[in-house]
Symmetry: D2
Subunit: 114 residues, 4 copies
């Protein structure tokens, strides 16, 4: 089954989603929540989209590879926003999003070969 | 099919989820975001849980009725928090959550008869 | 708020997702489930993607319009598969998917103007 | 943060969801799909519910512990159905669901202490 080869990518997507969930709820507990509003907004979208990407890959969906194009984009946007902040949860999230964007990029290049 | 009878309940669940999505993103744009942190947190959970409840009902899941018990609880919690704030999106959300809690309550009473 | 103008599109997305949920669970109860395997597979993906599209629009996500491109594609694929079958739930689902694909197409044309 | 202690539980929930996704799509490719209809149905519900449970825990939701009660129940139901079949994906899914049910059970016992 194709998804056997996708295990690393799927785990990267889940790790990114979890980092976004943690970052969003941590941002809501910061003193200056207003400064974190864009971060929370992007964390939500990124978590939702990465989670669904992982599931589409795991079920060998025909649209999974194409979904990764979109996933890469939201990961890059979320990484860029998180990188603006000094909080440890933002730094970790920026790193997880960056890693995930690269993993998505490396894999949606396979679309033509499918 | 059972879900034919559930159409009103399903739409109430979806309306509640949409009100929560709108309230959360509107709260993030308010001047005093910090005061809205709990509201945003509950909006997220309530939206996620109501959306899944609607889907479980629509697919005639065996666990749907039981899921409504939990759904009622998060709706009551979210309604109580939203009711503390004067923003129009909070008032609308409190109303949608209250209506949804009552609809969930009226329907999970059917569990024994299933 | 932008999503006020998106109400019709959001409801079309939710209706499509509900039609897919109903079609998938109905297919699983048909005598010849094997013939319905592709339909069930596409129903799942289409429901997941349309539901998330509706939520992204409702929360005014920056990526929502772009998400509609993908959404249109899975709706067209699901509509084409459902149209092959005579079951009433397949016909209704094909119609909901077709309508949703057209609504997505009409709206993601606005991406450049955002 | 509480979710630091929940890492093992969260990964167990995600592993269970992934096993369910894989089992459902594999069931759809079996020769006798009809025999697998209940398995596919439960796999879907179990995957959806476990995925959301993982996210609620990761974001330190107040309702997370209570959600685990429901999660345990769907995991037990899915494990019981999967255990009826000889397919390798069903066996693996039964095992993942059983492990997850036990992890949920061990953790929702903490509700009173929260």
């Amino acid at each position: 089954m194709e998804n056997r080869n996708n295990n690393a990518l799927i785990q990267t997507l889940l790790d990114c989603a979890l980092a976004c969930e943690y970052c969003a709820s941590s941002c809501l507990q910061e003193d200056d929540v207003k400064m974190m509003a864009d971060c929370i907004k992007l964390d939500r979208d990124c978590s939702d989209i990465c989670m669904l990407a992982a599931r589409l890959l795991q079920r060998d969906s025909n649209i999974a590879r194409q979904y990764l194009l979109l996933c890469e984009e939201i990961c890059r946007a979320c990484a860029a926003e998180c990188a603006k902040h000094e909080h440890e949860h933002c730094k970790q999230c920026a790193e997880a999003c960056q890693k995930c964007a690269e993993a998505c990029h490396a894999n949606h290049g396979d679309i033509q070969q499918d």
